[in-house]
Amino acid sequence: GLLLVALLVSHMLLIKEGVTSMPICPNVSGNCQLPLEELFDRAVKLSRYIHFLASEMFNEFDERYAQGRGFIEKAVNSCHTASLATPEDKEQAQQIHHEDLLNLILGVLRSWNDPLIHLASEVQRIKEAPETILWKAVEIEEQNKRLLEGMEKIVGRVHSGEVDNDIYTPWDGLPSLQLADEDSRLFAFYNLLHCLRRDSHKIDNYLKVLKCRLIHDNNC
């Protein structure tokens, strides 16, 4: 009780002298918002982390389950996001409008929401799945959600018009992850992880391009 009183008194004294804590948000206009640069920095960090996880997960899976099964030859690798018209080289990435690119990024992230949830749950059913793969699957799913939130914030800031929510590809690969035949099931996982690695690399690249274009004026 005595301590509380002492704290209260000291607080009042301090306030009287005009000593207050600094506001967290740097924006003086009262709209407590992070600057766009900060948002992009965080988005790039997240996307890099997600790609790192996806890469490692694919490598581990490849090492553990895909050796000698000839998956890489079979892998035609049509990912479910192939229908989205994402830029395929630097030229296209430079020419596309940043709003469209942002929408595409959002579309890809949304399309991966569902598969990542199922990946996290189905990968546990793989026989003797290593712990590292398991936790990476869960982590990627979590981080993907966070990146999606961040991107929606960025889009809200950058977009002048309305946000296009239509860009999205549904995923119907769940049955293939649950096949009874182990070989086919592992091949489905291999494909999914390969697609995840590729798409996360795409997102990472697009975000860096956008960041350099919008924030640093093409002079990173």
Binding site: R48, H51, F52, S55, I72, E73, A75, V76, N77, S78, T86, E88, D89, K90, E91, A93, Q94, R198, H201, K202, D204, N205, K208, V209, L210, K211, C212, R213, N218, N219, C220
Partner: protein, 588 residues
């Protein structure tokens, strides 16, 4: 010469905008003629194989795909083939094969030097490879710097970093250094080629201190030598010192395997009293270890046997096999409050160790040996603690029962004596019933085989036969012994049962040859009818208990079967038990 097929050695993209594939022609006939080997490629969404668009730009045996042919995240397959056959095939996507060019424009500047001028810090700077479009963020590069002194062989590495400048601290101004850098795409693992080597020479900018006195290097060798000597001297002095405490502190004595409280030498040639005291110590330990509650827990009823169900008495339960199993060998005694506790409290470990060793050998054997030894010893010599004896005795039928189960007639074989007739009957009776109710509680140990097995003689049977015909007139049991021998009790029981005429009321198990606790005696209505075995007709005056002649080893006792004449008249032998004093009178 080994035959080498044409092979695609690698495919590489330096900046994620173009890529090239390289191959080796091998030494397969005359393939050096150009255009025999072709590189065909196919994107994943196409059907046909197309030929390489550019065989020249990347050099010989290469194929270059410029930006218009390159789609970054699309899977490609390339194929090395002649007109007739395919030699090699590779599938990949461009983002997986990115290996950047080396950085360019390496240079260094001096940051500062130490006061003595012997060491200096420099800052190394470079530019990213010109092909990689870092400015627009299309590719992000990481750099790894390596440096070494000119005359060294091993390169020192710094951690990969994103920035294009790095300080190097504490370089020796008197020496020259070499620096090289390589780069990789940030999200991949493989590095590109090394850059050209940058030479760092302090003397060139005039601050080299060639004639500076070199710092004396720390004399590691001397330190180690002196340290070892000092340690050795300390150790020797401690070992030789007379101070036991110091010695104990630094060199604690290693415990030699032994059983605490038991001196093996003593067992070999000790006197009976001492041996008993030792074993009693174990007993008293057991009292600490097992409380009554635990005791009861170990008791299990054998429900499958209907007879035994009826005889769910304490005695029966005590006699059950589980009870015995729950004890280890030497500690196969009940808790016995009567024994003097003379042991240190740290006997537990020895008991457990004893049990461990016992468990490894045949359980039944060990148990038999142990229980027999102990109960014989104790019955003979410690009749002061009579409370224990009933329970000890209870183990006998258990033991004998087990012996019959496992060893069949072996243990029952008398040592050449007669008394054969009762054997089969006993045997069959035992085999009929699971319970131990019809086995001898006490039997004389006639001999111990070299293997350690104890040979018993069924002396009690003859006694029983005699006893049954007597009436239970004698109420004055010898009160020094708080347990009663079967003969006496049977007299009483026989009387009681005849009076009450109840064949099978079993509150506590009455065994034909059983013995009774004091309690059981007062409450039991026993069934004498069950004991209608053919009483042995022979009346051999077999001594039930003999003295221990020699204790030969911890596992053997040689009993002197005939050493003890039993003068009936000298002391009250309603039982076959002999008290210590009585025994002492007898012994020479």
């Amino acid at each position: 010469d080994l035959l080498q097929w044409p092979q695609i050695s690698k495919c590489r993209s330096p900046e994620m905008e173009t890529f090239s594939c390289f191959w080796t022609a091998g030494n397969l006939y005359n393939l050096t003629v150009p255009r025999i080997l072709q590189l065909l490629y196919k994107k994943s969404n196409e059907e046909d194989w197309k030929e390489c668009p550019d065989y020249i730009t990347s050099g010989q045996n290469s194929c270059y795909f410029n930006a218009s042919y390159t789609s970054v995240w699309t899977p490609y397959c390339v194929q090395l083939a002649s007109k007739t056959e395919v030699y090699d095939k590779k599938c990949f996507s461009v983002d997986e094969i990115v290996l950047p060019d080396p950085p360019v424009h390496l240079n260094w500047t001096l940051l500062n030097t130490s006061q003595t001028g012997i060491h200096g810090d420099i800052q190394v700077r470079w530019d990213p490879p010109p092909t990689a479009d870092v400015r627009k963020g299309w590719i992000t590069l990481e750099y790894e710097l390596q440096y070494k002194e000119v005359n060294e062989t091993k390169w020192k590495e710094l951690k990969p970093r994103l920035s294009t400048m790095v300080p190097l601290y504490s370089l020796k101004t008197a020496r020259d250094y070499e620096i090289r850098i390589r780069s990789r795409q940030r999200t991949s693992e493989k590095f590109g080629e090394f850059s050209e080597i940058l030479y760092v020479s302090f003397s060139q900018i005039g601050i080299g201190c060639n004639h500076c006195t070199e710092e004396v290097e720390f004399p590691w060798f001397l330190v180690v030598v002196f340290g070892v000597c000092g340690l050795a001297v300390t150790v020797i002095s401690i070992m030789l010192s007379k101070q036991p405490r110091l010695k104990m502190l630094i060199f604690p004595p290693v415990p030699v395997p032994k059983i605490k409280g038991i001196d093996p030498d003593l067992l070999k040639k000790g006197k009976l009293d001492e041996v008993n005291s030792i074993l009693a110590c174990h007993d008293s330990y057991k009292t600490q270890l097992y409380s009554d509650d635990l005791w009861v827990e170990f008791i299990e009823l054998d429900i499958e046997d209907p007879d035994e169900k009826n005889r769910a008495s304490d005695t029966d339960r005590l006699l059950s096999e589980d009870h015995l199993k729950s004890h280890n060998c030497l500690g196969a005694k009940d808790d016995d409050s009567g024994r003097a506790s003379c042991c240190e409290p740290d006997i537990p470990e020895t008991d457990f160790s004893a049990s461990d060793t016992c468990d490894t050998t045949s359980d039944s054997d060990q148990l038999k040996k142990a229980t027999e030894k102990e109960e014989d010893l104790l019955c003979l010599d410690r009749q002061d603690n009579d409370e224990s004896l009933p329970r000890l005795a209870s183990r006998d039928p258990q033991h004998q029962h087990r012996s019959t189960q496992s060893e069949n007639s072996h243990l029952w074989a008398p040592s050449g004596d007669s008394a054969e007739p009762p054997l089969p009957s006993v045997h069959t009776r035992i085999s009929n019933q699971n319970s131990l109710t019809n086995t001898d509680f006490y039997a004389q140990v006639s001999d111990i085989t070299p293997a350690g097995r104890v040979v018993l003689s069924p002396g009690q049977k003859s006694k029983l036969g005699r006893a049954q015909h007597e009436g239970c007139t004698e109420q004055n049991f010898t009160m020094d012994n708080t347990y009663f021998c079967e003969a006496d009790v049977k007299k009483c029981i026989a009387v009681i049962s005849h009076e009450e005429n109840e064949p099978h009321v079993q509150e506590q198990g009455y065994n034909e040859d059983g013995y009774f606790t004091t309690e059981s005696l007062t409450t039991t209505v026993t069934n004498l009818g069950a004991s209608t075995a053919a009483p042995p007709s022979s009346e051999l005056p077999v001594a039930d208990y003999t003295s221990i002649h020699i204790v030969q080893s911890p596992q053997g006792l040689v009993l002197n079967a005939t050493a003890l004449p039993v003068p009936d008249k000298e002391f009250n032998v309603s039982c076959g038990y002999v008290s210590t004093d009585q025994l002492n009178k007898i012994l020479p």
